[in-house]
Symmetry: C2
Subunit: 573 residues, 2 copies
């Protein structure tokens, strides 16, 4: 006779019983005082007087289902999947839906293969979306293009569970065969979208492809239209994008909308994870904002589980996998502090082994291409012309850039950075194929007074990007990046003042989360000595290459502008 059923009936001891729990029930919106019996990694029963081989006294604390992040790019934490998982798990996360498009730009299919391998056996189930836009556009140069055949292969090999965010909404709307081919190659899976500001008939055209979710809404009107058109809404609340408070009225005005909404991270950093948390932080924000905690809980448990068709999780109920978290209080309050965490019935404790530098290396493909073709100071010089110059205008608090037209500062017949007007030079060097191809431009708003800052984290193709006050510092930074095979650098003149190596695709390190934070702090401090005062300068830098966001951007092809549809000239003709 079946032993799971016997454990549910209480006729054989469970593997584990959580006694004196107050089980948060999103359906009754009540706490149910009960024991939770776990057998073979599953919830067997909820009720009174269960006994287990292992017994744990929750002492009247609230117990919630394991939380689910419906959209995150793990690479942005600069941590390995292993380090990420152990850090997030202890904040109550049990499942994440990750879009590995950063590593897939940097290392192609082998990047995805690494992420998949590195995600086995962790205390967080990581399901990957098939990265649907590698490269993000024709204006970027990734390691290799992942086309519809590659997409099909990812699904056939069961490395991916859903379609990763389809960012190339103009092509989908236009009915482009390659974009539609990728969607069809994914098959009958959740098809996640990315359609900032898309509306009306264009939104209809986007959705006619079958795409059924979005995480880019920033206004209530946009969110309401997308919801009304059948899209599941991922409300983003990460390190840089904060949409929860703006969009929560949608759920408050009709709680039934919680069944179609979820709170997601998109981008978070190691520091955010350590200092603020993960899905627990989203719960705190929602509770503080006045949302019914049970309704909020649905948005980080059952709703994402339903959207992603994970029928085995999202609630604490018999037959579901035993993913749950005990809170350090008897209710879900504003503190929402995690007491202890279980994954498939096993208590999650911090596993220092997975943070070890060398153990994980055999899993990872190191950056494959050694960049040798670094330009010279002479090569990146720009001869002055008798016209205005286009400059990338950075605005704090948004990833949108502006196209500025300014009079170039000229010295010895060359255009040079203009400290007084906060205009630095910016160079992007292709690094995946060592073509030596580079683009040169100017950017306003970084606050660089001397030296240069550089990074191999440069969305989405993740080539080398360096912004600096003089050509020598820029070239030093590029050499520093090339030497390391990727990472972050700060240089001044011929001196490499600080560096943080990111050996996995130039995006991730093997360090512990605290070490990642320390390295990042070190790099930001070094940048500050150059005059950089904006918060998160490396993150700002990393977005200047993202060709699919308006307006002016820079890639190894030079200036690009998605709204104008192509490569742009430096000078205004």
């Amino acid at each position: 006779m079946n032993r799971l059923a016997a454990a549910a009936r209480g006729e054989i001891p469970a593997d584990l019983v959580i006694h004196n729990a107050r089980v948060a029930n999103i359906f009754t919106q009540e706490y149910e005082p009960a024991d939770i019996a776990i057998y073979s990694g599953k919830i067997a029963g909820i009720g009174q007087n269960y006994s287990g081989l292992v017994n744990f006294d929750a002492e009247g604390r609230a117990v919630i289902p394991g939380m689910i992040d419906g959209h995150i790019h793990i690479e942005d934490t600069m941590m390995t999947p292993q380090a990420f998982a152990y850090t997030a798990a202890l904040h109550g996360t049990s499942t994440v839906m990750a879009d590995p498009h950063e590593i897939s730009n940097a290392l192609g299919m082998s990047g995805l293969e690494y992420m998949f391998r590195a995600s086995q056996g962790l205390p967080v189930d990581i399901f990957y979306g098939a990265p649907s836009c590698v490269p993000a556009s024709d204006l970027e140069t990734p390691y290799e293009e992942l086309d519809m055949t590659a997409m099909k292969s990812m699904f056939d090999r069961k490395m991916t569970q859903h379609l990763g965010e389809m960012m190339d909404f103009p092509k989908v709307i236009a009915g482009d065969p390659e974009a539609w081919g990728k969607i069809l190659a994914a098959g009958d899976v959740p098809l996640t979208g990315h359609a900032p500001g898309v509306s009306g008939k264009e939104l209809c055209a986007y959705l006619s492809s079958g795409i059924d979710s979005d995480h880019e809404c920033t206004t209530l009107d946009e969110a309401r239209e997308k919801l009304s058109r059948g899209m599941w809404l991922m409300i983003r609340e990460g390190a840089s994008f904060l949409d929860l408070k703006t969009l929560l009225p949608l759920v408050k005005e009709n709680p039934l909308n919680a069944a179609r909404c979820m709170a997601v991270s998109d981008d978070i950093t190691a520091r955010y994870l350590l200092e603020r948390g993960h899905m627990d932080e989203k719960m705190r924000i929602m509770i503080r904002d006045g949302l019914n905690p049970f309704t909020a809980l649905r948005m980080v448990t059952l709703s994402p589980a339903e959207y992603f068709r994970l029928h085995d999780r999202g609630i604490i109920a018999p037959g579901k996998i035993a993913d749950f978290t005990i809170l350090d209080a008897d209710t879900m309050d504003e503190a929402f502090k995690v007491h202890s965490v279980w994954k498939r019935g096993l208590q999650v404790v911090r596993d220092d082994d997975v943070f070890a530098v060398n153990d994980a290396e055999h899993l990872a493909p190191v950056t494959r291409v050694k960049v040798k073709k670094v330009p010279t100071v002479e090569q990146i010089r720009i001869k002055a012309e008798d016209s205005l110059m286009n400059v990338i205008g950075v605005k704090e608090g948004t990833v949108i850039t502006k196209t500025l037209q300014v009079s170039p500062k000229v010295s010895d017949g060359y255009v040079v950075p203009d400290f007084e007007n906060d205009i630095a030079k910016i160079v992007v060097l292709e690094r995946h194929r060592d073509t030596g191809r580079f683009g040169v431009g100017f950017v306003k708003g970084l606050g660089i007074m001397r030296g240069a800052v550089g990074s191999s984290v440069a969305h989405d193709a993740h080539n080398f990007v360096v912004a600096g006050a003089d050509d020598e510092s820029i070239i030093t930074a590029l050499h520093g990046l090339a030497e390391m095979g990727g990472g972050l650098v700060v240089s001044e003149g011929r001196e490499l003042k600080a560096s943080f190596a990111l050996p996995i695709g130039g995006l991730m390190s093997y360090l512990r989360p605290e070490e990642v934070c320390a390295e990042l702090a070190k790099m930001e401090n070094a940048a500050e000595t150059l005059g950089v005062k904006i918060p998160h300068p490396f993150m700002v830098l990393s977005f200047l290459c993202l060709s699919v966001i308006p307006e002016l951007r820079i890639t190894d092809l030079g200036y690009v502008d998605i709204t104008k549809g192509g490569v742009q000239e430096l000078f205004v003709r």
Copy 2:
């Protein structure tokens, strides 16, 4: 470039445009004045100024998504799937989830094969559940047993989409390997349950199997417990079971529960379909009961679509299949009258061809076994004994029976029906294998004063059941059933006074819905001439053989009682 996207953008004409629609949106809970553009059977766009090859003016009427019945036994309408589909479609039904366990008891796998074949190309998509309890218990004799290997085969052949109601809850709770094997054979599909009154740890044990829905709740407390344990609730509202009004408070107190609840039919008759309707009738009941019409609409559209993982339907939105209904008003009001219906973008009109008697016959397996071993009057006589006798007690308005102990009326040394106390004789004859095996008992409460009534609709094994006032009438009725190969009969003495043939497995006819109603009315009138005054006497008769419902029942094995776990004696020892 993709033509669906082009139609959505309005750049090429749609196949069909519904102009001046008021689209009922369950998310915004508003009517949106818009055109609906349909291309290639899918919704392309919703918006203003679409034009189509065909244009239909909705004249400001409300438009709702095609409605979905999450649980129905089509056989109980005595209509073929074709006749059922055309009748239901014109009431706004676009999809039904059907459990074919009646025909599967009567004709085994070939019964299921017939249902599947007969359901292709109809204006209602019929998805079948794999009948999980054939026979309903060891106390019944079906045509053939459908075991876990048969279950696997149904799914492998894609004839079934989900697990049909797992009625044998005691075996599931007990962890019986055959019951669990059937569940596991179904795989990762919705696993529909049937667990009347099951609660506490027994409910946990039932759910630990993965079963995740139920349609048997009759009280709020029962419904609330099942909901809280993660079950999707199918609220039943059919011809005989009326649970909507009792259970709607669950949705009214928290509208979010509408995301886990649906309204279903379970059992409805041809007359109910014709006179009252189908899912439209459920909408009327919910709206009259004061439920927000948009919330009610979710329970017959998106919620069942989500539970059954039909990601292509349930809402009117781009990319979904074009199943929708225009109502005869500008809102969803208490009349909720259907104006016109579209299935995959094609208008549904009554197709008299599908009701034709002979055209469909080639699809159907006629009842295969000719019953020759009909007992004689002498064989069904019961010798009196000096003790009390067990009698099946029928109570109007419930399928539950009672075990009565009465002093038998004796004549010439034999027990005979007792008109004064409304006790008739009842005989069940095995019909699937012509074993000649029969059971004899007595039943109180049918009101039979003379003659006999008989039927091959006798849940769930659907053997011949006859109740009568004298042995000769009973044997005449049995011969009548045997001659027809199944159906309904009324006899008196040697005369077969009325009959209604059900050539498809003894359960369904090829007649049009109006003719089915007329035949049933004729049979009920004939029964009334025998003194039968209870409503729906043939339905009441049909449930007396259902071994899985307490208390006393009769099958070809004789008296049975699931609560006592086996065959019961006629006399009290």
